[in-house]
């Protein structure tokens, strides 16, 4: 497609061709958008999935256990069939409030595209060493897990021979297995919390199956080595994450991988002046994935970091449909939305606003994370005023695993009597009302 002429005006412009951008673009097309352009800085679509060669994708969407690139391929094929236009090797450098998208690449130089609606689907980035301020020297051999993943899975290079992994995020655990299979030694995975930050299934499939120790309530307190990492000092920590004096020990290794969290990539979003959720790092959205700025929508990891790509795709479809409607002039700007607040034991919830009127069309999915592990049965309660509007029970709830609570269409009338709602996670051992 590289030589094909691309017009400058589109109904919908999607920034990012990862699973979110793909699903949003397809859905926009299917919901009537005439022209849809997806822009990505990489040379192909698929986003982060292209480096996730492991299985574990698509269990919800396709009832199949697919490697990342295969999951992406299904959407790439659908997008091509739907007539979505792509612009690759192109960085979006800025977006204006009147929905002009400024880009740079080595073919057209600096060029502008206009969309009647814009979908942000830039994904997320990894937290760096500096953000967690690990003390010690600054040698080669300290990488984010995703960087190591790209080296191993895309470029074909091994970044080290003996690893310590800081953080029990999914990418870190997946890389522990991958590196072990490549013949490297993974000494341990170190987690500062007393619980896992990634999915439990990855603990079993990536660490336990390969005898890789997980050290909970430990952290790396020093990086040692001048040119290349030679060892890291690991210490136990107390409840307040303070290193316990005397517990430190040096673990020889040549590489420290960091899997200490993902941050939604929202420079563009923030600079255009969209309201952000400071805790999550994504734009505040309603259940239609509309931001506070008319015509701008958010899809995928830009909105919040999801555990599973299947939930990225389904949320992005809603965003794409909303963008198509906005472009067609059929999107209700003022839907009478109300805020949804994280309540007891709940750390975050997306969407941050809901429009009860949309219940006439679809149920609304609230995605949330608890603030701490609740190991017994839990009931999530959506509360308006002093009434419980929706309840949903789970056998347990963990911060590493996102929970979804559906507000059924039938609940629509109950929301009419309130102007904000809260969601609590109540351990059932504390008694049921």
């Amino acid at each position: 497609m590289s030589e094909r002429f691309i017009a400058s005006d589109f109904d919908v412009v999607v920034i990012g061709a990862g699973p979110a951008g793909l699903a949003a673009a397809i859905s926009a097309k299917e919901n009537g958008a005439g022209s849809v352009l997806v822009i990505d800085r990489e040379s192909e679509a698929g986003g982060i999935l292209q480096q996730c060669v492991h299985n574990g994708f698509g269990l919800d969407t396709f009832k199949e256990d697919l490697p990342g690139p295969s999951y992406a391929q299904r959407y790439i094929d659908r997008a091509a069939a739907a007539g979505v236009a792509f612009l690759f090797n192109t960085m979006v450098t800025a977006v204006s409030r009147d929905r002009r998208v400024l880009t740079s690449n080595d073919r057209d130089g600096v060029r502008e595209y206009r969309g009647k609606a814009i979908v942000f689907a830039m994904g997320c980035r990894e937290r760096s060493r500096a953000q967690i301020r690990v003390p010690g020297t600054r040698p080669a051999g300290v990488y984010t897990a995703g960087t190591a993943q790209r080296w191993v899975n895309i470029d074909g290079f091994l970044p080290g021979r003996r690893f310590v992994i800081l953080g029990s995020g999914d990418i870190g655990m997946i890389m522990a297995r991958r590196l072990t299979l490549e013949g490297a030694k993974v000494e341990c995975v170190v987690e500062i919390n007393s619980y896992l930050s990634g999915l439990s299934r990855n603990l079993v499939q990536c660490l336990q199956d390969y005898d890789i120790p997980l050290l909970l309530r430990h952290t790396v307190t020093k990086i040692i080595g001048n040119k290349r990492v030679e060892a890291v000092e690991i210490s136990a920590v107390d409840e307040r994450w303070k290193p316990v004096a005397g517990s430190e020990r040096a673990v020889p290794c040549d590489t420290l991988l960091l899997s200490v969290g993902l941050i939604p990539e929202n420079e563009l979003t923030r600079r255009v002046g969209i309201e952000m959720d400071p805790l999550i790092g994504g734009p505040v959205v309603d259940n239609r994935y509309a931001t506070n700025l008319p015509g701008f929508f958010g899809a995928g990891n830009v909105v919040q970091v999801y555990d599973l790509v299947d939930s990225v795709s389904s949320a992005a479809e809603i965003a794409g449909r909303s963008a198509a409607r906005y472009a067609a002039g059929t999107f209700a700007a003022d839907c009478g939305s109300m805020p949804v607040h994280p309540g007891k034991n709940v750390r975050q919830v997306v969407p941050q606003r809901i429009c009860p009127a949309s219940l006439a069309e679809d149920p609304i999915a609230l995605q949330l994370r608890v603030a701490k592990p609740l190991e017994g049965p839990v009931e999530f309660r959506v509360i308006g005023g002093d009434r419980i509007l929706v309840r949903k029970r789970f056998p347990y709830a963990r911060p590493g695993e996102m929970a979804t609570v559906m507000i059924p269409k039938a609940a629509g009338s109950a929301f009419r009597e309130t102007d904000e709602v809260r969601i609590d996670a109540v351990p059932l051992a504390e008694g049921i009302e």
């Binding site: 800085r41 090797n89 960085m91 450098t93 400024l102 740079s104 690449n105 080595d106 073919r107 057209d108 130089g109 600096v110 980035r125 990894e126 760096s128 060493r129 500096a130 953000q131 301020r133 690990v134 003390p135 010690g136 020297t137 600054r138 040698p139 080669a140 051999g141 990488y143 984010t144 995703g146 960087t147 790209r150 080296w151 191993v152 895309i154 470029d155 074909g156 290079f157 091994l158 970044p159 080290g160 021979r161 490549e182 013949g183 490297a184 030694k185 307190t221 020093k222 990086i223 001048n226 040119k227 290349r228 290193p243 040549d254 420079e267 923030r270």
Partner: protein, 495 residues
């Protein structure tokens, strides 16, 4: 590298590079020896990058003289060499009435040193000019001549201009010893062989004492390393357009808050004596110290917004001020060695060494002349060095023009700092070539933003390998032994 030069300069920090540039005016064959693989990779790469006004040094010291003289030289230097430099002015801030007396002392000291335009302003005025200041600010000393400079860019520009005027650089070539004929130096020894010379100039920073001791000079002179740690704050969260100092204490100038020429806000440095001269590690202690001390000036900064941490080592010496009327230990040394002919020493060049560097270079030329060196001006000396394009500073039209000539300028490789492949390739093929990731970082600022190389690292490593024509596994962060990857996955089957 030839086997004989008129002048051998030891060390390619800001002092060595500006000295080389200054001496290139004359008809001399000059070699700069540097043990690292690049210029300016030591102390000149990790400091506050301030062009100090000069109210801090004790009047009568060499530090005071060279600081004020050096400060005045930066306008011309930066325009000749195309270095980012801005006279932002700075404020020494008194928190509470008790500290106002210190400001008065500083002001008097500055006036004795010849610092222009010093002004004592009240707390209200200071807060009106810098709204982020602590509400308890009682007064401030304003120094309009203080500025900020791109410290990396300054060293590279000086070295490049030297090369363009015929100076040679030998990297990964450590000075080991002097060769004498009687009491006169006639050469230096390096692991790559001996090199004859008429003059040796010691600009070895932290190792200046070791180097001078090899010639038997100043046997009592010692350099101790004093570490300074910093935090860089996300510029989207907080920026400042000036420099804020607390009132100084015996420990030095204290924890400052300032914005670099690149637009990042920096908090630091700490001040900690270390063992040896190499431990530039970040310490939990240092970070806690910064947290505690920066609140004094700007209580609202949140260090959780840190995007980078770094540390530099000050080369603190114990030289007594040569002026007998001044009781001060820790002065700069810039002198012809009394003990060996043909050697000029710089020593104890801690802060304000960057500010003073052009004045140090000027003084070295004078000393050489006084010592009898034949300094004939060359008619073809070119003082002008042009920097290469920096995409993020260009207008869209200028960008477009450049991309037309070389499409790689359209390809953004570092997403936070918006550095393109064209800029990277240009640095790899520049007069002082960038051969490592850190060398590129100092020249283009790639990898210095929010993601700290999370996006660009694998790509930059690939570009380096391609442009240098070497395997990816040879690409290093900085010195030998700092290679990023250890093997190709398909060729490695475990130990």
């Amino acid at each position: 590298m030839k086997d004989r030069y008129d002048v051998v300069i030891i060390g390619a920090g800001i002092v060595g590079c500006l000295t080389a540039r200054e001496l290139a005016k004359y008809d001399l064959d000059i070699l700069v020896l540097e043990r690292n693989g690049d210029v300016g990779a030591a102390t000149s790469a990790a400091n506050s990058a301030l062009i100090h006004a000069g109210y801090d040094p004790i009047p009568g010291t060499l530090k005071a003289e060279l600081n004020v003289r050096g400060n005045a030289m930066w306008d011309r230097l930066s325009s000749e060499l195309d270095i980012s430099f801005r006279r932002t002015g700075d404020y020494v801030v008194a928190i509470g009435e008790d500290e106002i007396e210190n400001l008065k002392i500083l002001k008097r000291q500055g006036e004795l040193n010849g610092v222009p335009g010093l002004e004592l302003i009240d707390g209200e005025t200071a807060r009106a000019r810098v709204p982020a200041l602590n509400p308890e600010t009682a007064a401030a000393l304003y120094a309009p001549s203080a500025g900020i400079v791109d410290t990396f860019g300054a060293v590279i520009a000086a070295a490049e201009n030297a090369v363009e005027n015929g100076v040679s650089f030998a990297f990964e070539t450590e000075f080991e010893d002097f060769i004498f004929d009687g009491n006169r130096i006639i050469g230096v020894k390096t692991p790559r062989g001996s090199i004859g010379c008429d003059w040796a100039i010691n600009c070895a920073g932290l190792e200046a004492d070791t180097v001078m001791h090899k010639a038997g000079a100043r046997p009592d002179f010692r350099i101790r390393a004093r570490r300074g740690e910093y935090c860089v704050i996300d510029p989207e969260y907080f920026t400042l357009d000036t420099v804020l100092f607390p009132v100084p204490s015996v420990k030095g100038k204290g924890v400052l808050v300032f914005t670099t020429t690149h637009g990042n806000t920096v908090v630091g440095p700490t001040s900690e004596w270390i063992d040896g001269k190499t431990d530039a590690a970040i310490s939990a202690f240092g970070q806690a110290y910064l947290e505690e001390n920066m609140r004094k000036l700007v209580p609202t900064i949140d260090l959780r917004r840190t995007i980078a941490v770094f540390a530099g080592l000050r080369a603190s010496g114990n030289a007594r001020c040569l002026n007998p009327a001044v009781d001060y230990v820790g002065d700069f040394i810039v002198e012809a060695a009394a003990e060996a002919a043909g050697l000029i020493n710089c020593g104890g060049i801690e802060s304000p060494g960057l500010t003073s560097a052009p004045a140090i270079a000027e003084r070295i030329v004078r000393i050489l002349r006084e010592a009898g060196a034949a300094l004939c001006e060359r008619s073809d000396w070119n003082p002008i060095r042009k920097g290469r394009p920096v995409m993020r500073r260009l207008s869209d039209a200028e960008k477009q023009r450049l991309i037309k000539t070389d499409p790689r300028y359209g390809k953004i490789v570092c997403r936070c700092e918006m550095v393109t492949e064209g800029e990277i390739a240009a640095e790899i093929h520049a007069p002082i070539p960038a051969r490592t990731y850190d060398a590129l970082k100092r020249r283009t600022w790639l990898g210095t933003g929010r993601c700290q190389g999370g996006f660009d690292l694998t790509r930059v490593v690939e570009i380096l390998a391609r442009e240098l024509g070497v395997p990816v596994s040879d690409i290093r962060k900085n010195e030998a032994g700092s290679e990023f990857v250890v093997a190709e996955t398909k060729n490695w089957s475990g130990e």
